[in-house]
Amino acid sequence: MKKTWVSYPYILWMIIFTIVPLLLVLYYSFTKTEDGSVVFTLENFRRVLEPTYLKVLWRSVVLAFISTVVCFIVGYPVAMILAGKDMSDKSILVLLLVVPMWMNFLLRTYAWMTLLDRKGVINSILGAIGLPQVHLLYTDFAVILGMVYNFLPFMVLPIYSVLRKIDRSLIEAAEDLGSDSITVFRKVIFPLSLPGVVSGITMVFMPAVTTFIISKLLGGSQYMLIGNLIEDQFMRVYDWNFGSAISIIMMVLILLSMGIMTKYDKEGAGGGLF
């Protein structure tokens, strides 16, 4: 079926709307406007390397990393439990897992504001049973919680997907050979689930590093993460050159880490969402 030409409109579209914009970003990052004319400069990139901004980058990476780890620790057992269930319960449970994910992302983040506020639901409950109030909203904790909440399904689903496909007979064989469940897990299940894990980590880490809404709403605008920095430069400060430079650096970092990740997933066995 030699129908390659059918995809040419698509290729054209992608070039116009994906490649060209990125080239423009690159262009902006290497230039600045001085007295009305555009000059080539490395100033923007130099600025990104200033300690203030490196700190922002670091903070984003750390928060995203913590969130990813928490998602993994919390989510892996969920995937395992779901994968191990028999047919009748399973689809309903998976459905229930997915429903919150279908709620709007903004709403899910806003929901936590209601719970975590100093005068919100959690503190009300604590107050009612006589426990002291806790300061939750507008802290690191709130931001991480927001990230974990929003991205947990993205960790669970790929792992679940891969776990489900594991050939039961492999597990049975291991058990027949005398392994206890912990060894079965360590030597058979976990290694086989790795593609799903990698997929999950990727799908959590990437949005976590680049988000700006969670830090703005749940962090009280105090936490400037890379996403906030970029948004700020483009929408408030109007320094598109600097903003572009930051974006390029961030994009390169992400693509690099993705590249490393996919080395683990050569055959594309990673359980994506489809």
């Binding site: 409109p9 709307f17 969920v78 897992l97 709403l107 899910r108 572009s244 993705m258």
Partner: protein, 263 residues
């Protein structure tokens, strides 16, 4: 052990649902307070429907999602068909091109598109929003349809041609039905992504054209807004009902295929 598993799952589900359910409960709260109950009322729902910004952004969101998903599905399916018959080098180039918007952080896609539109002096508004949504949707359709094409029996198409069918007829009658699950998944995926998108829409819209996510964001930044709670309650019910219906239908279908949420 079983009990432990059960408890753990319950905790997780409580964690997942508590915020949403809290929002829903408080949508009936007469007081604007986030922690205290002031009495039962339906006034926030009334205000929600009267709010022209919310209504118009709801309209925009659905239209954009439908249109962009449709266009993306058609373009994406065609693209997948084309890519499937490509030679190694071209194929790998195009696949990388396809992966780019998927892998790229939303914020970079958003600002790059904004820069593009400003550069070609295209006013930010409904058109640019639509273009942006189509752009990030097509790759997902391609990625949904391609696996199905790979699973296809190559010889069916040739057999159809041998039997005298014209290529287009053969495509619609032979190939399309086989890849249909992928096409539909792609469409639904595109539709969902479009509905839920915030960051890319945020940067590529203007002139008062708002999507639901953007409106919620503006409302959230104004302070406590129980209208948002009312909106959440309604959305939750719609989503739940839709998912239940779709899932039920696919499960009880004689063909014994796994539920739509086939993960």
């Amino acid at each position: 052990m079983k009990a432990l598993k059960r408890i753990y799952l319950i905790i997780i589900f409580v964690f997942l649902y508590a915020p949403v359910l809290t929002l829903i409960v408080f949508s009936f709260n007469d007081s604007k307070s986030r922690g205290h109950w002031g009495g039962f009322t339906l006034k926030w729902y009334g205000q929600l429907f009267k709010d022209r910004q919310v209504m118009s952004s709801l309209y925009n969101t659905i239209i954009i999602a439908l249109l962009s998903a449709l266009v993306a599905t058609i373009a994406g399916t065609a693209a997948a068909v084309g890519i499937h018959s490509m030679k190694k080098v071209l194929k790998s180039f195009v696949m990388n091109l396809t992966y780019l918007p998927v892998v790229n952080p939303d914020i970079v896609t958003g600002i790059s598109l904004m820069i593009l539109f400003v550069f070609i002096k295209l006013d930010l508004g409904f058109t640019t929003l639509l273009l942006a949504h189509i752009t990030f949707n097509i790759p997902y359709v391609v990625l949904s349809v391609l696996p199905k094409l790979k699973q296809l029996n190559k010889h069916m198409y040739e057999a159809a041609l041998d039997l005298g069918a014209k290529p287009l007829y053969a495509f619609f009658r032979v190939i399309l039905p086989e890849i249909m699950p992928g096409v539909v998944t792609g469409f639904l995926l595109a539709f969902t992504l479009s509905l839920d998108d915030f960051i890319i829409s945020f940067f590529t819209t203007g002139s008062g054209v708002s999507t639901l996510s953007i409106t919620i964001y503006s409302m959230a930044r104004l302070g406590v807004s129980p209208k948002i709670n009312a909106l959440s309650a309604l959305m939750f019910i719609v989503v739940l009902v839709l998912l239940l219906i779709v899932n039920k239908r696919s499960a009880t279908n004689g063909r014994n295929e796994a539920p739509l949420i086939n993960i």
